[in-house]
Amino acid sequence: MSTLPVKREKSNKRKYFMEKLSGKVFLFCALLSVISLLLIIGFVFFKGSKPFIGEGYSIVDFLFGNDWVPSENQFGIFPMIVASIYATIGALIIGVPVGLFTAIFLAEIAPKSIAKIISPAVQLLAGIPSVLYGVFGLAVIVPFLQNQLGLIKGQSLIAVILVLAIMMLPTVVTVAETAIRAVPKSYREGSLALGASQIGTIFKVVVPSAKSGIMTAVVLGMGRAIGETMAVILVAGNSLIIPTSLTDSIRPLTTNIALEMGYAFGTHQEMLFATGIVLFSFILLLNFVLARISSKGGN
């Protein structure tokens, strides 16, 4: 008589089948990120380890050798490692304090009307292609350094540091500001009620409470700095020397890959993948160290 209950019975089998099938499809989609990661690690490591496993090159010579002359089969990346470390640390030294202080200013000091304009604007700047920072660096910072410091070539470690520091600012400011704003009001009120000044409260109570968020800001900023390639090429100068001063021209790990990948083949190309592995390991290591620091600070 009634069609509704009949319909229930009939279609349910198909529904349960679809249910099972869709679950499997969704799982497969989720597994694609695992598969991608494994493929990336697999291919980069496979290619990059070939010279050391099959072709008798020494890892020590690779990591600590000073000469990179692909035409003579000399592949030492020590100057690039040093350059990458210097550039990243330098950018952090400038970018983090400025970014953090700006974030504190926006979250705690600035009048609401001002913060409401600046915060979204800074956020927007985080989305600007990093190449444009490099263009600015080449057109403005490099000539400025050249003129002011009387350098033959303005492209230098300090130029890289400045460009990377500027580039990480929006990221650091945005993430740190969010973290600081998330600190409960009651913390501030508690401190102010005890007679602490506004500035004292900010630095003794608010900032420490937002520590993990601030750490995230630093890690993200650092990630942007150490991984940046094209903007850095424009201002680094690309000299294969161990930098001894801020005004030396440098070639960090990333730029080495981008500059030579286009024409490299054979062992030379594999060595670029090996350079990639080193870069990869650096990022893992730095993330690990920062995670340790922040968890220790938490205790």
């Binding site: 799982l27 989720a30 990661l37 980069v44 200013f105 800074v122 927007l124 263009v135 094209m230 993948f273």
Partner: protein, 274 residues
């Protein structure tokens, strides 16, 4: 003494904020100042000319190709992956592994993606330096972004919607596409727009996978330049700051439009609920 210290710190806070704003305003101002002279209808829609003075239309087309292809692939996969993590998976090792992989993908610098794309898509899959190879590489780059933003917006869908729907004898799948995904749509859309920004800003990975041919791509299997790569190359090879800045204006304008539309969409869709 304490007061003095407070004053100095306060001064530093103002100074830092001033510095940040000044630097960022300078950069944007510089790009506009240098590039605005070149902006014209012909510049955007004109064909490229190797001798200079031409337009950037081939690069605009290439950029659009990469955006469309990588979104077409990454969006469904990313959304369904997020659905699996939030709605289907039992908490346990599998979910931890998938989460770890997704987070790790976020941390990989784009030059490594470029290396991978060059050896996997370009060489192993024999796609050659091409728009499709670059788009597939970009797919992996934006996948974690889409997964994360979709997960976040799925979290905001009230549990009561799920219960209400399932209690009516519907399947999880029906509940998903009739109730949960529509409610999560604003968040998902802003995630998609965010990834468009990421694609537009990308340079190193595309540089190594799409190559640098400055011409209108014949198909998605042609090598070509995106706007960002073009902006890099004209600076690096020709030192043409004006041209790079003019491309920069276009890029910034696109990013602005994307951001505003993201805000607008999520506001509009949120309002529609009430």
């Amino acid at each position: 003494m304490r007061k003095l210290k407070d004053l100095i710190l306060l001064g530093l806070l103002w100074f830092a904020a001033f510095l940040t704003v000044a630097v960022l305003v300078t950069i944007v101002g510089f790009i506009f100042y240098k590039g605005i002279g070149l902006i014209s209808f012909d510049f955007i829609f004109g064909d490229y000319s190797p001798s200079g003075g031409g337009g950037i239309w081939p690069m605009v087309v290439t950029t659009i190709y990469t955006i469309v292809i990588s979104l077409l692939i990454a969006t469904p996969i990313g959304i369904l992956a997020a659905v699996y993590l939030q709605e289907y998976a039992k908490q346990g090792r599998m979910v931890r592994i998938i989460r770890f992989a997704t987070e790790s993908l976020t941390g990989i610098p784009s030059i490594i993606y470029g290396l991978f794309g060059a050896v996997f898509f370009v060489t192993t899959l024999k796609l050659g330096m091409s728009i499709i190879a670059a788009s597939l590489t970009l797919t992996i780059i934006i996948l974690p972004v889409i997964i994360r933003t979709t997960e976040e917006s799925l979290k905001t869908v009230p549990q009561s919607y799920r219960e209400g729907s399932l209690a009516l004898g519907t399947t999880k799948l029906q509940t998903l596409y009739k109730v949960i995904l529509p409610s999560a749509m604003p968040g998902i859309l802003s995630g998609i727009i965010l990834s468009m920004g990421r694609i537009i800003g990308e340079s190193a990975a595309i540089f190594l996978t799409a190559g640098t041919v400055a011409a209108m791509p014949e198909s998605i299997f042609s090598s070509a330049r995106t706007l960002t790569v073009h902006s890099y190359l004209v600076t690096q090879e020709a030192g043409d700051i004006e041209l790079a800045a003019a491309i920069g204006i276009i890029l910034i304008a696109i990013i602005l439009i994307l951001n505003f539309s993201a805000t607008w969409i999520s506001k509009k869709l949120n309002k529609a609920d009430y």
